[in-house]
């Protein structure tokens, strides 16, 4: 790939507007619809069973209803023979076993337990807190590291890019009502790591160019840096997206949402490392003096 010369930064206003719209949509959806939290975070009981022959979900619902389990959600999971039964917070230690035996005793086909999960309401709440705390901690540590290795403006720009990615990915999950469970949270943190990696590469090039290109304006310099790293950004994102598509298609239902979160996050992360971080750097008026220390004045030799 030849080094391109695309005037990315000339589009900065349009791109900023686009990002802003995405963020507003995401925040709006998060505020009104919220997230479809999974069992890990809400607490409750879940049973996954495998039938030998695909059952009618209505029959399963009716059967459970007859036996007094009214407040349940019955869904297929990955294949028509796999059925998931979810129950809200009405836990007794034996609920899972009871529902399983109800299903097993009332059908003609064989029903086997794939997994059963129970999470207490309090545990779920703690996980939500811990997850949010972990995310904030990650951002704070990244901010400090970048401030030390680069400069404060860079750390603000890269963390803002990360927050941008996280909000839009969360917005995607909220808007399309995809279940948000523990693995999705892990994926989100991985997106933070990945997007950061991308952003750092761009920032690194900007830092380097400030040292070697003496007579270029910051605007042109940032643009040039993005173009120089564009090949690498796209190739890496492509190889990563390849494997994520494989995971999404062939990885099975259990990591479906996980790979979806990564897919969305990495597309957004690639976009943000090209446009958002650099854009913010310019907005904060990044200068050569921020990175290259001004030539020291001759020290007066007043020591004996």
């Amino acid at each position: 790939m030849k080094v391109t010369n695309i005037p990315f930064m000339a589009m900065r206003k349009i791109v900023a507007a686009f990002s802003l719209v995405l963020i507003l949509i995401s925040l709006g959806s998060l505020a009104t619809k919220g997230l479809q939290f999974g069992l890990d975070f809400t607490g409750g009981t879940l049973i996954e069973v495998a039938y030998d022959e695909a059952p009618k979900l209505d029959d399963v619902r009716a059967l459970l209803g007859e036996n007094g389990y009214t407040d349940v959600v019955v869904q297929n999971f990955g294949s028509p023979t796999d059925v998931v039964v979810r129950m809200a917070n009405s836990y007794t230690p034996t609920l899972g076993d009871e529902v399983l035996s109800t299903l097993q005793n009332h059908g003609e086909t064989n029903v086997s337990l794939q997994r059963s999960e129970f999470v207490g309401a309090q545990v779920g709440e703690e996980l939500r807190e811990q997850g949010g705390l972990g995310m904030l901690l990650a951002l704070a540590i990244v901010m400090i590291y970048v401030a030390v290795r680069f400069q404060f403006k860079f750390s603000v720009a890269s963390v803002a890019a990360l927050i941008h990615d996280v909000i839009i990915t969360l917005g995607f999950f909220s808007l399309f009502e995809v279940e948000f469970d523990l693995t999705v949270l892990a994926a989100l943190l991985a997106v933070v790591g990945y997007s950061l990696n991308d952003t750092i590469v761009v920032c690194d090039r900007i830092r380097e160019n400030f040292r070697i290109m003496r007579d270029t304006t910051p605007f042109d310099l940032v643009n040039e840096s993005i173009n120089q790293t564009l090949g690498r950004t796209l190739i890496t994102s492509m190889t990563t997206l390849f494997v994520l598509v494989v995971l999404f298609v062939a990885g099975g239902e259990a990591i479906h949402n996980f790979s979806m979160a990564l897919l969305v996050g990495i597309v957004i992360g690639t976009y943000s490392s090209i446009f958002v971080a650099a854009n913010l750097l310019l907005a904060m008026d990044v200068k050569r003096e921020d990175l290259v220390p001004a030539p020291k004045e001759e020290l007066e030799d007043d020591l004996p």
Partner: protein, 616 residues
């Protein structure tokens, strides 16, 4: 200039790779489904004879046995398939009888020469091998309350023996309050109790004509009791899990009042839960005399369902905690009984009380602590409210014939099963405080197998796609990057095995993701080299500065990602932790392979000659 590594660098790289191969190698050997034989009793040992018994029973039932061997922990029976293993369990259990514990397990097939070097396959998480995960919460307030109740008996005895008159003793909200009619009694009691019971805080209170002495734990004592309760429960749960005979169980403290229990391979969750969660205990009380006061006696029903009741003194002689050993057997009439040995403190207490009570009746009370959860709305949110209660029933009421010592027996149990479970619980110890299941996950073995299959196949496809892309895009350098990528995966597996880190499904996803990201470092280097070449730099110089200039970028980018992975490890649980482990290990190994190993290969191929054309 020429790009060459000194010989020692090549040798060092080869050494690292050789070690990596060696320690990753055991993962190629699949685990055998197996039955683990062990015994908890000193009377029975797993030997050739018992193995032979099992073998005979299996051949009778037409189940193929792959191999039977004696190990330090007992015996292992290996099978060719999971179905054989499942079918064999009841057969072997029946053939060997009650004294032996048979547990389902997966046994590595690592050759001896490898395991003697400390090499073994990576551990599989519950989501890949099936099993049960429990998270239990210890009810520490209940532990405090229990302790306060025990003390209340002791304090009452102390007050009585010093002839200090009190009206009543109540325990409520962690405060023990003793009511007196005379202020002088209160003062005497305070001096006495302060001397004898120093772990308490005392406060006096006057209400109308009554005087109260309020006793509560000091903060230090509260902490100590809470941590003791947790520690005691951990020990008890470990003992119980061992009695269940599960291979490679995990019982671990989590946070200030939680305990994680993981039982790989266990399918019968109901049975596991019954034994683990059982909060049964025994209490020994004297039967109340006819003229005893009302507040100090308790009327309890018998557990045999006859509806009979008896009046027992509230004061305890001892509890099941003082039991040092228990076994079940039958009495001369063929009824189930439990033989009990007490520890020295319990024995002394027992003989002290029974010496002066020969001819009176002693009741053995079976207590089960249970809890009910209700949901109530509070501030617009549903909140879980737990109410604990205990079910008490008398197992036996028998006349004390003579002073009882360290060892005696109790009868009056319903069935042999009840006597053996009671013996098990007494032996393993009672829980110092009630526990609740706050999280529970069961993964069936078929789901585990399916997860492995899906994970491995998507890893293979992912690897293939990335390699093809690199080959097409970077030609010879692509081949070099692909070799580095393959070595990276081998090194990653070796690290997992060496650290005996647990591989989970998100962990496999982490490996797949690492593959996508691992080529990143090489992409960075190769783009730099291309750039240098485009600027007209000579080949060797281009390679040299390509590697050098990409290094800081790779370093900064990977360190930040590593920081995030470490945080993920710190806040995550179970499968998420597995993901964090593979991600961070992957970052470290990929930095080694992508920088050092790739450089070595490039040096070998291109470093020696001056103007060889670079296929990049």
């Amino acid at each position: 200039m020429l790009n060459k590594y000194p010989l020692w660098k090549y040798l060092l790289i080869l050494l690292v790779l050789a070690l990596g191969l060696l320690y990753a190698f055991p993962n190629l050997y699949p685990d055998d489904p197996a039955l683990q034989l062990s015994t908890q009793k000193s009377t029975a040992i797993v030997d050739e004879q018992s193995l032979q018994k099992a073998k005979d029973a299996l051949s009778k039932a037409n189940i193929d046995l792959k191999q039977a061997e004696l190990t330090s922990a007992g015996g292992t029976l290996r099978f060719n398939s999971g179905e054989d293993q499942l079918a064999a369990k009841p057969v072997v259990a029946a053939a060997l009888g009650e004294d032996f514990v048979t547990a389902l397990n997966l046994v590595p097939t690592t050759p001896d020469w490898l395991s003697s070097l400390g090499a073994g396959p990576a551990k599989l998480g519950l989501d890949l091998r099936g099993g049960v995960h429990f998270l239990l919460e210890v009810d520490t307030p209940a532990a405090l309350k229990q302790r306060l109740e025990v003390s209340s008996s002791e304090m009452k005895a102390a007050l009585r023996s010093d002839r200090i008159r009190y009206r009543s003793v109540d325990v409520e909200d962690g405060v023990l309050s003793i009511r007196f009619l005379q202020e002088s009694d209160l003062d005497l009691a305070e001096t006495l109790l302060k001397r004898d019971f120093s772990e308490y805080r005392y406060a006096t209170l006057q209400d109308g004509s009554d005087f109260y002495l309020n006793v509560s734990f000091t903060e230090a004592a509260t902490k100590e009791i809470e941590s003791y309760a947790l520690q005691q429960n951990l020990t008890t749960l470990r003992n119980r899990v061992n009695e269940l005979g599960v291979a490679e169980p995990l019982v671990q403290r989590q946070g200030s009042n939680r305990i994680v229990v993981e039982l790989p391979g266990v399918q019968d969750t109901a049975a596991a839960k019954r034994i683990i969660g059982a909060t049964a205990n025994l209490e020994f009380h004297l039967e109340a005399g006819l003229d005893d006061r009302g507040a100090d006696i308790e009327t309890l029903t018998f557990r045999d369902g006859s509806g009979r009741t008896a009046r027992l003194e509230r004061d305890l002689i001892i509890t099941g905690d003082s039991v040092s050993d228990a076994s079940s057997s039958f009495d001369e009439n063929g009824r189930p009984q439990v033989n009990i040995n007490l520890d020295s403190k319990g024995g002394k207490q027992m003989s002290k009380v029974t010496r002066s009570a020969v001819g009176r009746n002693m009741g053995v009370v079976f207590i089960e602590h249970k809890s009910r959860s209700r949901f109530v709305e509070k501030d617009g949110k549903m909140e879980e409210v737990r109410r604990s209660y205990s079910e008490k029933g008398i197992i036996s009421l028998a006349t004390i014939q003579t002073t009882l010592g360290n060892s005696f027996r109790i009868t009056g149990l319903d069935s042999p099963r009840e006597s053996s479970e009671l013996a098990l619980l007494l032996r393993a110890g009672a829980l110092a405080a009630p526990i609740y299941f706050v999280e529970e996950r069961t993964i069936g073995p078929s789901l585990g197998a399916e997860n492995i299959k899906l994970g491995v196949s998507s890893a293979q496809i992912g690897l293939l796609v990335v390699m093809l892309f690199m080959l097409v895009y970077y030609k010879v350098f692509g081949i070099i990057a692909n070799i580095s990528l393959a070595l990276n995966i081998i090194l990653l597996m070796a690290c997992m095995s060496l650290l005996s880190a647990t591989l989970t499904l998100p962990g496999i996803a982490g490996i797949v993701l690492t593959m996508g990201m691992a080529v990143d470092a090489n992409v960075l280097i190769f783009s730099r080299i291309k750039e240098e070449l485009a600027n007209g730099t000579p080949n060797q110089q281009a390679i040299h500065s390509g590697f050098n200039r990409a290094f800081t970028t790779i370093f900064d980018a990977n360190i930040t990602t590593l920081l995030v992975a470490v945080i993920l490890f710190a806040v995550g649980t179970g499968p998420v932790k597995g993901f964090a482990v593979t991600l961070s290990l992957g970052i470290l190994t990929s930095m080694f392979t992508a920088i050092v190993v790739t450089r070595a290969q490039v040096n070998l191929v291109y470093g020696g000659r001056k103007n060889k054309k670079l296929y990049i």
